[in-house]
């Protein structure tokens, strides 16, 4: 089992999850205060999926994400200051302030973007995997998506296509129980998203998405296999969205208080902290990691607050590139 992960590595995983948690709790507040514009979908409670998966990847591997993409972006190594600037709509954001929360990206670390169209990331990840195959680069792709996306044709077409042409792409479904207000059992024809794997002739796995060590273990094995065989795989991480669908949704009128409480008790950061204590790590060491995360996020906010807005005229640039550019 995952008993052989060192305390140092566990503290590193804790830092990564705490970074995402603090980042999202902070932007949630800034969005409410009107400092950050637009729609905001947080992944609070789902951090173990992003961190456990990206920890199992190599630096050059590609990642695509969804409207709920801050965690994936940060876990893949995106610069916090630039990511915060993107959320503020500042010029120093990775997209120059054109994308915002639903389009956070960092092509410098092969994070090919969050995407506001459900299911769109799967095909893009597949294409990046095809590119890796052409280049014989040994890279793989990960497509993160929600269980809601698995009810869309894009999911089914891309799983079949990836399997039939044979490309190294790892489809990672974060099943957080609800697609907006719709409970998963209402929109899915099978009990688990992973069940679809048989239909497409690829391996399928289910993992406890709130246990970062379990995610790391499964993803290390499956990513290794995808890389070795050059073929796709499907992993479903069972998790829970602690917040509403987006900033304007309390998430409480369609989910019971008991259900939310039960999942809060399985919070991935809480669980890893407990595990660290059991492994003999001092409470102070854990607190120090959490304080580091807070400092990093505060620094990003200070940076973004002071950063200049884009020049309005820049809105007209870069619709085309190359010779047809302006």
């Amino acid at each position: 089992m995952s008993g052989d992960v060192s305390n140092e590595r566990m503290l590193e995983l804790l830092l990564q999850m705490a970074r995402i948690r603090t980042f999202e709790e902070t932007i949630e507040r800034l969005n409410r205060e009107g400092r950050i514009p637009g729609f905001l979908h947080t992944s609070i409670g789902q951090e173990a999926c992003a961190v456990g998966t990206c920890e199992a990847l190599e630096g050059g591997d590609y990642v695509t994400s969804t409207h709920r993409g801050h965690g994936h972006c940060i876990a893949k190594g995106a610069d916090l200051r630039a990511t915060m600037c993107e959320l503020y709509g500042k010029a120093a954001g990775q997209n120059g302030g054109r994308g915002g929360s639903m389009h956070v990206s960092d092509f410098g670390v092969n994070m090919l973007g969050a995407n506001a169209i459900v299911g769109a990331g799967l095909g893009i990840a597949l294409g990046a995997a095809l590119s890796s195959k052409f280049h014989e680069s040994g890279r793989i792709s990960v497509a993160f998506f929600g269980e809601g996306a698995s009810t869309n044709g894009a999911f089914h077409e891309n799983l079949n296509l990836a399997s039939s042409i044979g490309v190294p792409v790892l489809f990672v479904c974060e099943n957080n129980g609800y697609a907006h207000e719709a409970p998963v059992q209402k929109i899915l024809s099978v009990p688990n998203v992973a069940d679809f794997h048989t239909g497409y002739g690829i391996p399928g796995h289910i993992v406890d998405g709130n246990d970062v060590l379990a995610v790391l273990e499964v993803m290390t094995e499956v990513a290794g296999m995808v890389r070795a065989t050059g073929r796709p795989a499907l992993v479903e991480a069972k998790t829970y969205r602690q917040r509403g669908h987006h900033g304007g949704d309390s998430g409480r009128h369609y989910r019971s208080a008991d259900e939310i409480e039960a999942w809060l008790a399985k919070d991935p950061i809480l669980r890893l902290s407990r595990r660290l204590i059991e492994s003999g790590v001092e409470r102070e060491a854990i607190d120090a990691v959490l304080a580091d995360a807070t400092r990093e996020v505060e620094d990003a906010v200070d940076f973004a607050e002071a950063a200049p807005l884009p020049d309005p005229e820049s809105a007209l640039l870069e619709v085309y590139g190359g010779d047809s550019g302006e």
């Binding site: 514009p37 637009g38 729609f39 709509g89 500042k90 997209n95 302030g97 054109r98 994308g99 915002g100 639903m102 389009h103 995407n115 506001a116 169209i117 459900v118 299911g119 809601g148 996306a149 009810t151 869309n152 044709g153 697609a179 907006h180 207000e181 719709a182 209402k186 929109i187 899915l188 669908h245 987006h246 304007g248 949704d249 009128h253 369609y254 807005l309 884009p310 309005p312 005229e313 820049s314 809105a315 007209l316 619709v319």
Partner: protein, 330 residues
């Protein structure tokens, strides 16, 4: 005139239309993404399940294409579906179904069936929704023979046009601007139907015709007020339906004013303004005393940052400038 006894929002007006038509005709049913139809920020069918039961509000997974063709199949066989696709951007996930199937079914099969269905969606720019949630695609739909395209600008029209759409035996694309949903206005009591193909003259004027629809109507009227201050008397025409298009009202107006400004929030290039300009060039050329001006969205995806977003959408100021230029005051 029908007596007006109350003011309601645009969104409420559409729900009244759906409820009244579902009571009137039990072939009418609603279908759309479960996640978006009952609640959420823009509940397209709020309260419908409570009154009519789950059988007449079918909540679907996230499958716009399958939903649209399902509605088509039902429409071809005696039902009258109202499809809610939420953001207009998601209609692009059903573009084969809308373009290849829905628009052409009657014609392809030699008129053996009616296609009585409405596809509703929320479009346009609102609050930094960014590139994939700000789109308005009426020009694309208007290009497809077989589709009718409706873009209401007031609560009264939202209700009257939606009721007409539901009773139409052809597929109707019904587009509601997100920034209009919470606007309030008078809506007549009792049965209220607004016919297709009849533009509304929102303000009479003699010097320049400002033609638009949907969200740009408030901007056009604000522009007309400012122009009046500068001694320019603008006529403001709300097309209400793009297909069918009320060419007569536009041509008659231009015959009087000799000047035309067309406005829409969606992209300028190949936008619906080009169609209006072409109709006037073909049929009212002799009446024109100045080049036709278009005030529309810049030809770029709608960016997130508010300073960028504001830069790419048209406003009253742009209409004022265009009208002045057409009147030789530029």
């Amino acid at each position: 005139m029908i007596p007006v006894s109350r003011e309601i929002t645009f969104g409420e007006a559409t729900l009244e239309a759906v409820r009244e038509e579902m009571r009137r005709d039990d072939r009418v049913f609603a279908i759309g993404e479960d996640s978006g139809v009952r609640g959420g920020s823009f509940p397209i069918f709020r309260g419908i399940a409570e009154e009519f039961g789950d059988a007449r509000l079918i909540g679907t997974p996230i499958c716009e294409g399958a939903t649209t063709n399902t509605a088509l199949g039902a429409a071809m066989t005696g039902m009258r579906p109202i499809v809610g696709l939420h953001f207009a951007d998601f209609m692009l996930r059903a573009m084969d179904e809308i373009g290849d199937q829905v628009a052409r079914a009657r014609y392809t099969f030699g008129g053996q069936c009616d296609v009585p269905m409405v596809i509703r969606a929320y479009d346009g720019v609102v609050n930094s929704a960014a590139t994939q949630h700000s789109g308005a695609y009426e020009a694309i739909f208007a290009h497809f023979p077989g589709l009718k395209v409706v873009m209401p600008s007031t609560p009264a029209d939202a209700k009257g046009l939606l009721k007409t759409a539901i009773r139409d035996d052809n597929p109707v694309i019904f587009l509601e601007h997100k920034r209009l949903l919470r606007t309030r206005g008078p809506v007549p009591d009792g049965e209220h139907l607004t016919p297709f193909g009849h533009a509304a003259v929102r303000r009479a004027g003699a010097d320049v015709s400002i033609v638009g629809y949907g969200i740009m109507m408030s901007q056009a009227l604000a522009a007309a007020e400012r122009l009046a201050g500068d001694g320019i008397d603008a006529e403001v025409i709300d097309l209400r339906t793009l297909v069918p298009l009320d060419e007569d009202t536009v041509l008659a107006s231009v015959a009087r004013t000799g000047r035309l400004v067309v406005t829409h929030e969606s992209w300028r290039r190949s936008g619906f303004g080009a169609e209006v300009a072409a109709v006037v060039a073909e049929k009212g050329f002799a009446d024109l005393r100045a080049p036709v001006m278009r005030v529309a969205g810049e030809d770029v995806p709608v960016p997130f940052s508010p300073v960028l977003e504001q830069r790419v959408i048209p406003n009253a100021e742009g209409i004022v400038d265009a009208a002045k230029s057409a009147c030789g005051h530029g």
